[in-house]
């Protein structure tokens, strides 16, 4: 669950970054994000970040889970920022294996 929380934090922030013109362009998307798509990405990103909170609480229990979530948000965002700085085109495709790993880890180890 801890791994899942981390991966969901990355995915949530990825969606939020895709809603921003500059980062969307870096990741090889259209230069201007259409307003409708921007809204959808923002809402989706927020929901995924909330799911990360749920996974953290499932992993560590309520009081520790909130601390763990803040830590996971930090770690997930820093990884995203580093990927965007070095290999921006990989940021989006990287999310898929990461989510699979997080899901597997949650399913196998709880």
């Amino acid at each position: 669950m801890a791994v899942l929380a981390l991966v969901l934090a990355y995915a949530g922030f990825l969606a939020l970054a895709l809603a921003m013109d500059r980062h969307a362009a870096e990741m090889g998307q259209a230069r201007r994000v259409p307003p409708g798509r921007r809204q959808v990405l923002r809402i989706a990103g927020s929901i995924v970040l909330a799911l990360s909170l749920w996974a953290s609480i499932a992993a560590w229990g309520a009081p520790f889970g909130i601390l763990g979530w803040l830590g996971a948000l930090t770690a997930g965002a820093i990884v995203l920022v580093l990927v965007l700085a070095v290999r921006p085109h990989l940021a989006l495709p990287l999310a898929i294996p990461l989510l699979v790993c997080g899901g597997l880890a949650a399913a196998l180890f709880g």
Partner: protein, 503 residues
């Protein structure tokens, strides 16, 4: 407000960097301490440990007034015992027991991870009160810098994910500084604020003085209460078995683990056994104790409730120390600590980079020298402590003092390099040295002990293996820093141009 942010950050920066880095290492204080005492065996279950401690104390101090037993836990493998023949604190003989044999462990004299821990709030070289005040003042400057930094950072959301190292120079440093500052902002605020709260009673003693009419010891004893042994009666009595008492205490705390046992007047009819709860399974560090009658093992009383002030303080203190953190959570705390360290370091470098071109002078030169000596010198010093722990002969008199000297010696050497060499050379040399020291540590460990990675990985001893692996993982990071810091400005400009051409 930008000037406030800049100057608070700069003047406190070198101390804050040292506090952040050694404090981050202190998340693994117990693991580092265990690594630095390779003679210690792995811990045993608490019940067995308590029995061994009691039987050892029965041999060395059957007529003592007080016994103290610090039980091992998941991260701490030693059993620490103390016994005193007189009342009150002081007068204690202390021993570290080997968990397997229950006899004093033949352990090399070392400060262990405690050196980093104490350094991060005492600075160790100064009289301890001065050190604490200095660290507290810097923490206050830090809080001001964080808040004014958020206010002056106008593009906090627009630049949330922005880091453009290829742009080079000031832009890249500012991006990096902003990114690690904003992304770990909850952590920065938490650690700075709770750190200050830890010293609240030193910084703001007047409330307590007013309530206790200036008698600080009365306040201390109410808060941290030390059981005063009652008068011993003439009757001797056998001490009831300790394990059922521990089990009862654990039941009382709904599964909470005991941490420390205090026995007063052992082997006397008036014996009392006080079991205090450990700190590894809850956030708040507050005193929860259960008192037993020594000869019968009956529960007499329990102290559970704490006032709101104590509870608040306990939560803050607990958050700062993170003793509750499970391995995964601890990794996140450690990474956040590294982010904080990076934030301070990038801020310091940014100050110099900004002024080196615009207004070069003595101030910039001095700041540059201190930057190299602190940011690149301190990691070398910390690694030197671990090297000294393995290289100094085990029977060297004052061995722990020599470890201490290696730490400060190498740090002074770093300062000397920074003063004598041109800046780029000093960065490259010290980061290169740090890369060599960290890459070589697991090798040195394998050559000098029998608890190297080949053994610890096979046994699944992750506490010891983790120290070797983490330090080794730092080596490529230091090497990268050495390589980047050493590139000539001309080469950097050329590279930037080619990047601009390609884009």
């Amino acid at each position: 407000m930008a000037w406030l942010h800049t100057w608070c950050g700069l003047l406190a920066g070198w101390i804050l960097f040292s506090v952040f880095l050694t404090g981050t290492a202190s998340y693994y204080r117990q693991e580092i301490s265990a690594w630095m005492r390779p003679e210690l065996h792995r811990g045993v279950a608490q019940a067995e440990a308590a029995e061994r401690a009691v039987s050892y104390l029965q041999q060395v101090g059957p007529a003592a007034r007080t016994w103290l037993i610090e039980l091992p836990d998941a991260r701490n493998r030693a059993i620490r015992v103390g016994w005193s023949n007189r009342d009150g604190p002081g007068g204690f003989s202390l021993a570290t027991l080997d968990a397997e044999a229950g006899t004093p462990a033949a352990v090399r004299k070392t400060s262990g991870g405690d050196l980093f821990y104490y350094f991060h709030f005492d600075l160790l070289v100064l009289p301890f009160r001065l050190g604490r005040w200095l660290v507290s003042l810097c923490a206050m400057a830090m809080l001001v810098a964080i808040i004014s930094g958020v206010i002056t950072h106008r593009r906090i959301f627009v630049d949330f994910f922005t880091f453009r190292p290829r742009k080079g120079g000031q832009r890249a440093w500012l991006d990096g500084h902003n990114a690690v500052a904003v992304l770990a902002l909850p952590y920065h605020l938490m650690i700075t604020y709770t750190g200050l709260v830890t010293f609240a009673l030193m910084l703001l003693p007047w409330g307590v003085d007013l309530a206790y009419r200036g008698d600080r010891s009365a306040f201390q004893s109410e808060l941290f209460g030390f059981v005063q042994p009652g008068p011993a009666t003439g009757e001797t009595a056998t001490l009831a078995p300790i394990v059922p008492m521990l089990e009862q205490a654990t039941r009382h705390w709904g599964g909470g683990l005991p941490g420390r046992i205090t026995v007063t007047n052992p082997n006397n009819a008036s014996a009392r056994v006080m079991v205090a709860r450990g700190e590894t399974d809850r956030v708040a560090i507050t005193r929860q104790t259960v008192l037993f009658e020594g000869d019968s093992g009956h529960l007499l009383s329990a102290r559970d409730k704490e006032g709101p002030a104590e509870q608040t303080w306990g939560v803050m203190y607990g958050l700062h120390l993170a003793r509750f953190a499970s391995p995964a959570l601890r990794v996140l705390f450690f990474l956040s600590g590294l982010a904080g360290t990076t934030m301070v370091a990038t801020g310091l470098v940014l100050w110099v980079v900004k002024r080196r071109v615009r207004a070069p002078g003595w101030g910039v030169r001095i700041a540059g020298v201190l930057n190299v000596a602190t940011i690149a010198g301190l990691p070398c010093a910390m690694l030197a402590l671990l090297w000294a722990n393995r290289l100094l002969p085990v029977d060297l008199p004052q061995r722990d003092v020599w470890e201490f000297r290696s730490y400060f010696g190498v740090w002074s050497f770093g300062l000397l390099c920074a003063v004598l060499c041109p800046s780029r050379l000093a960065w490259r040399f010290l980061f290169g040295l740090a890369a060599l020291l960290s890459a070589g540590l697991p090798v040195l460990n394998a050559l000098t002990t029998n608890v190297h990675l080949g053994v610890t990985l096979r046994q699944g001893d992750w506490a010891l293996a983790g120290v070797d692996l983490t330090v080794a993982a730092l080596a490529p990071a230091f090497a990268l820093l050495a390589w980047r810091a050493g590139r000539s400005p001309a080469a950097q400009r050329l590279r930037r141009l080619s990047v601009a051409d390609a884009a």
